[in-house]
Amino acid sequence: MSRFENLYHRSVVTVLLVILLSPLAATLVYAFSSQWGSTILPEGFTLKWMIQLWQDPRFLVALGHSLLICFGALALAVVLVLPLMFVIAYYFPRLDSVMNVLILLPFAVPPVVSSVGLLQLYSDGPLAITGTPWILVGCYFTIALPFIYRAITNNMQAIHLRDLMDAAQLLGASTWRAALLVVLPNLRKGCTIAILLSFSFLIGEFVFANLLVGNRFETLQVYLYNSRNGSGHFTSALVISYFFVVLLLTLVANAVSKDKESS
C-alpha cells in the first residue's frame, strides 16, 4: 500500500469517527457545563447535573426497571431460543430457511402499528397484561430474536456443530451430555455478542415502552421523555449516564469472556 493510500484510508476512518462521536462529545460537554447558551464555549463546568440525576430516586427506579425488563427479555430469549436452535441445526437443518424468514417478521411491522395490535390483543381476555412489565418482556423478546438468532447461527456454523456432536457421541457421550459439555461452551462467544447487541438496542427502545406501559412502569427512555421540559443539561446528563451504563456492561462482558479463554 502506498503512502498516499495509507493517508487516504486513515482520513476516511477519522472523518467517520468524528461524525459518529461529535454528537456524543457535545452531549458530554453539555452535561458537565454550568451554562452554555449564548457563547461558543461553555461558561463553566459543574458536576451539579450529574449529582442531581444520580440522587433522583425516580431516575434510579427507571434505570432498575429498564435493566430488569431487558435482562428478563434476554434471559427468556436465550432459554427458549438456544435449545430450539440446537434442535434445528442438528436434527432439522432444512428448517433454517423457514426460521430466517420467521425471525425477520418483528422488523417487517413498524413498532407503532404492532403496538396497537398488541394493545388490542392483551388489553382483555385471558391475558390482560397491558400496562404491566410482562407485556414489555414478551415484546422485547421478539425484537431481540433476530439479533440472537443470527449471532448464534453464525457461531454454530463456525464450530462445525454436527461433527462435534458426532465425535462426542462416538466417544460415548449421550446427546444431552454432548450438547451440554461440547456444544454449549463453544457457543459462549456468539451468545455474548447476541446479548450485548440486543441489550444496547433494547435499553434504548422507546415506542413500545411508551405505548404499551407508559408511566405505570417507567423505563429509562420514558423517563427521559417525561423530563423533556426540564433543563437540557439534566437530560444530557441522563443520556451520558445511559451510555455509560451500556459501556460498563459491555466492558464487563468482554472481560468475563476473555478471562475464561485464557484460563
Binding site: D166, Q169, L170, G172, R177, N186
Partner: protein, 330 residues
Amino acid sequence: MTYLAVKQLNKHYGATQIFENIDFSADEGEFVTLLGPSGCGKSTLLRCLAGLTPVDSGQILLQGVDLVPMSPQQRGIGMVFQSYALFPNMSVNDNVAFGLKMQKQPANDIRRRVDEALALVELNEFAHRYPHQLSGGQCQRVALARSLVTRPRLLLLDEPLSALDARIRKHLRDQIRRIQQELRLTAIFVTHDQEEALTLSDRVVLMNKGKIVQNGSAEVLYTQPVDAFAAGFIGSYNVLDAREAGLLTGRSWRGQVAIRPESIVLLPAGQGIDALIVSHSLLGNVIRYRVSTQGIELLVDVLNRSVGDLHPNGMPIGLQLDIATLCEVA
C-alpha cells in the same frame, strides 16, 4: 475368521440411492481403504458403520455381532474426521481424556492412558495447548489420539489427510500406518486419493456410483483393473478400444485394452512402432510424453535420468509395447 463383515448394505435418501448391496469384509489388524471419486457413497458408508447415519437394510457384523441396531455410543468404534472435530473449549489433554471420562474410568487410569496416547502421536509437550493454538497436522494427531485412547474395536478415518498440505500429509500418512501396525488395529480409511490408498492399505475397495467396482490388494488393483473406470481412476492408464489396440499390437482384441504409461518403452526412430512426440510435461522424477501414432494418442512415462535424454516436441520416435502388461477391461 473375518473380523468385520458388511453384508448387503443399502442406503438411499429420497429417490437417490447412495449405495446398494455393499459387501466387503476386513480381517483383524487389516487396513482397508474405501477409494472412489467424491459422491460415490464411501463417506456415507463409513458414517453408517459408525452408526451416525442409519442404513435401510443389511448387516454390519463386527466380531460376529450385528451393529445395525446399536447406537453409536454402544458400538466401540473410533472415528477421525476430515474437519478434525476437536472440542475447541478443551485443552489437548481434556480432548483426549473425553472418551475415558464418559466411560467413568478412575482419574489415575485416565491420566496414564492419555499420556500414552499422546506419546503415540508425539504430542506430549502440547498437552496443555488448545486446538486453536495447534497446526492442522497437530490437530489431526490429537484427533487420532482421542479416538485411539478408548481402544476402539474398529478405527474409521474419513479423509483425515485431505485438509493438510502435501508435506504434512505424507508424514501423517506414514505415522497413521505405523501406529495402526503397532497396535494391530483394524482400520477403514476413506479417501479419493489413489496414491494414499495404494501406499497405506493392505486392501483397497474401489467404489463408483454406490457400488463396489473392485476389491483387492494394491498390487492387483494397479496391475489388473477390472474395467475402464478402475483403469482410469488408478494410475493414468491409456484406454484403447479394440480396433486401436489391434492396430498397435497386430492382434485382435475383444474389448477395451488398458496400457500403463510406464510399460511403454521409447526407442530410437525406425525401431518398433513409428510415432511422434506431441508434447511433454515434467512430473519430477518422471517425464510424461504425449505421443501420437496412426491417429492414436498415448501417454508414455519415462524415468527422468538426465536432461540429455529429453526428447523435444515433434521428434520422431519408436514405441515398444509389452503384450504381457496389456490388460483387457470390460
